[in-house]
C-alpha cells in the first residue's frame, strides 16, 4: 500500500517500467484524457491508460490512427482538459500535423515520443534520431515547443508532471522524449499521489458561452498582417520559453579537460564513461541537456573556458552536434560519436573515442 508522507505525496518506491511510470505520472499530474494508437515500443502506455483512466474517472480512447489521436487531444484541450497522447517515431511523424495546429491555436498538450530507429518504419530498438524533428518544429509553420528528455524512469515521471505545467503556462504543446530502452526498463520510482501541479484557470477554453461572449479557437488568419501579428505573439512566447525553460545537468565538468555532451539514455552511459576515464586519470565531465529545446547554449558555452575538447554522443548520426557547435562557436573542437539503427553503445567504445580525441588534440 502507498504510504503518505504527510504532504499528500506517496513515499513508497515501486518498481515500474518507464512507459507505465510515465502514464501514471500523467494521471498524477491531473491528466484525465488520453488518446493513443498502438506502436512499439510504447504499447505499455496505451495498455496502462486503458486500465487506469476509468479507475480515476478519466477518458481513455484507442483512436483509429495517430492523426485522430492527436486531434482528439486537440478537442479535449480546446474544452479545457489536461490531455495527452504518446507514440513512437513513425507515429509522431503523423502527429506532427496536429502538433502544428496545437501550437497555432495555442492549446496545451503533452505528447510523448518513445523513440525508435528510423527513417521510415525502421525498427523497434531505441534511438534518438528524432532530435531534429523534436527540436526544430517537425510540423509546418514557425513554431516551437519545450522538449524534455529523461534519462531515468524517475526523471521521466518528474518531467512528465512538469510537462503538463509548462504546457498550461504557455498554452503550448510540450514534448517528452523517451526511447525504447527507457520505456521498457524497470526502475524503482516514487509517484506523487497528488502531484503539486499548477493548472491555471482556462478562460479561453470552449466551454459553452454561458455568462460570456462566444469565443473561438483558431489558427487561421487570412489577412497577412493579422497572421504576422499572431506569429509575432507566438515568437515572443517562444523567446520567453528560451529564457525560462532551460534545463540541464552536469557531472564533474568543473575541472574537465574533455566534456561529453549527451541527453536521455545516452547520458547515463556517458556517466559510466566519465567514471572509467577518471579512474584512468583523464579529467572528463558530462554536460546533459534535460530540455533539448530550449537548448542550454549559454551554460554549455561557459564550460569552454576550461574544457579543451567536446565529444557529443548520441544514438543518431549526429543531430545534437549542430546545437553543441552553435554553443561552442568554433572555439574548441567538437567531435561526435554515435550509433544508429537501435544499437546501444558500450561504455568502452565511448571511452576509446574520448582517448582518441585526446591524442588528436594533444591533451594529456
Amino acid at each position: 500500500m502507498a504510504k503518505n508522507d504527510g504532504n499528500g505525496a506517496r513515499s513508497e518506491r515501486i518498481l515500474m517500467c518507464g512507459n507505465e511510470a510515465m502514464a501514471e505520472a500523467a494521471i498524477a499530474a491531473g491528466c484525465r484524457c488520453y488518446f493513443g494508437y498502438p506502436i512499439t515500443p510504447q504499447n505499455e502506455v496505451t495498455a496502462y491508460m486503458a486500465k487506469r483512466m476509468p479507475e480515476v474517472g478519466g477518458v481513455f480512447l484507442q483512436s483509429e490512427s495517430e492523426l485522430a489521436a492527436v486531434n482528439m487531444v486537440f478537442g479535449a484541450s480546446a474544452v479545457g482538459a489536461r490531455a495527452m497522447t504518446s507514440s513512437s517515431s513513425p507515429g509522431i511523424s503523423l502527429k506532427q500535423e496536429g502538433i502544428s495546429y496545437l501550437a497555432g491555436c495555442e492549446l496545451p498538450a503533452v505528447i510523448a515520443n518513445v523513440m525508435r530507429g528510423g527513417p521510415g518504419l525502421g525498427g523497434i530498438g531505441p534511438s534518438q534520431s528524432d532530435y531534429f524533428q523534436a527540436t526544430r518544429g517537425g510540423g509546418h509553420g514557425d513554431y516551437r515547443h519545450v522538449v524534455l528528455a529523461a534519462s531515468a524512469v524517475q526523471e521521466l515521471v518528474d518531467l512528465t508532471i512538469e510537462a503538463f505545467d509548462i504546457a498550461d503556462r504557455y498554452r503550448n504543446p510540450v514534448l517528452v522524449l523517451s526511447d525504447g530502452v527507457l520505456g521498457q526498463m524497470m526502475e524503482p520510482v516514487v509517484i506523487p499521489e497528488h502531484a503539486e501541479t499548477h493548472e491555471p484557470e482556462k478562460p479561453w477554453a470552449l466551454t459553452g458561452c454561458k455568462g460570456r461572449e462566444p469565443q473561438w479557437i483558431k489558427s487561421l488568419y487570412l489577412n497577412e498582417h493579422d497572421l504576422e501579428r499572431h506569429n509575432q505573439k507566438l515568437q515572443a512566447k517562444y523567446a520567453q520559453m528560451e529564457c525560462d525553460e532551460v534545463r540541464y545537468d552536469t557531472r564533474q565538468i568543473e575541472d574537465a579537460d574533455v566534456v561529453l555532451v549527451a541527453f536521455g539514455m545516452v547520458a547515463r552511459i556517458c556517466r559510466s564513461v566519465v567514471r572509467v576515464l577518471r579512474e584512468r586519470g583523464v579529467r572528463a565531465g558530462l554536460f546533459r541537456p534535460i530540455a533539448v529545446w530550449p537548448f542550454p547554449y549559454e551554460a554549455l558555452r561557459a564550460t569552454r573556458e576550461r574544457a579543451q575538447a567536446y565529444l557529443v554522443v548520441e544514438m543518431n548520426a549526429g543531430q545534437m552536434v549542430e546545437d553543441v557547435r552553435l554553443a561552442i562557436e568554433g572555439r574548441r573542437p567538437v567531435e561526435f560519436y554515435g550509433r544508429t539503427g537501435g544499437v546501444v553503445m558500450e561504455v568502452e567504445e565511448v571511452v576509446a573515442e574520448v582517448e582518441k580525441l585526446l591524442v588528436r588534440e594533444g591533451v594529456s
Binding site: 477518458v59 492523426l67 482528439m72 478537442g75 474544452v79
Partner: protein, 250 residues
Amino acid sequence: MQAVYQRPESLKDVETHYCAGCGHGIVHRLIAEIVDELGIRERTVGIAPVGCAVLGYDYFNFDVSEAAHGRTPAVATGMKRARPDLIVFSYQGDGDLAAIGTAEIIHAGNRGENITVVFVNNGVYGMTGGQMAPTTLEGQVTKTTPRGRMADDVGAPLKVPEMLAVCDRTAFLARCALNSPKNIRAAKRALKKAFQYQVEGKGFSLVELLSPCPTYWGVEPLDALKWIEEKVIPRYPLGVIKDAGTQETP
C-alpha cells in the same frame, strides 16, 4: 407589432463572405434556429471545417473551434469525451468529410460518438477553386476533371450516409436538399432530430445536405437549384437512411 420572423440569437448580424446562391448561409441559419429552439446555445460548441465554411466562427453566436482538414470528427470526439455536457457538432464539406477525413468520420460513427455531423455536399471543392470531390457527379466538369468525372478513372460518387449506415453504432442518418422551401423545411426537421438525438444521448447523427455551388458548377444561382433537382437528387436519393433512435435497448 409582433415579430414573426427574425434573426436567431445564435446567428451574428454580420455580412457573409459566401458566393451568391451558395447553400452555406441556409445551413448556418437552420443550425442557428435549431440551437435556439433547443435552448442549447450556451453549451454548444461548433467545429468549422477547412473549406468554404472555415470562417464559421464569424457567423455563429456560440463557441466555435477550427480543426485540421478532415480531422473534425476526431476533434469533436475529444471535446465530447472530455466534456459530455457540451453539445458538439462538426460542420463538414464533401472534401473534408468524404476524402481526407474518411477514416475519422467512419470511426466516429462506428464508435457511436454522441455528436452531430452537418455534412454539406455541393459536389466540388469550393475553397480551393472547384476541384473534384468524392461526391462529384459522373460526367461533371471540375478543375481536376476537365473532361468530366469518369468512374473508371477516379471512382464513382460516394454515398456517405449509406456507407455509415452499415456501422452498427450510428443512430441517425439522413439526406436532404437545399433547393426548395419544401426541401429546406425537411432539412430543418432532419437537422433538429440530429441535434435532439445528441441532447438525449442517443449517439451519432449525420445529415447530408445537397447544396448548390453556382460558382464552381458554372451556372446561375437559380439554375443551380434546378441542377440539384434534375442531376444531384437522382444520384443521391433524399430521405432518412437510418434511424436507430426509436429502438428501445433490450
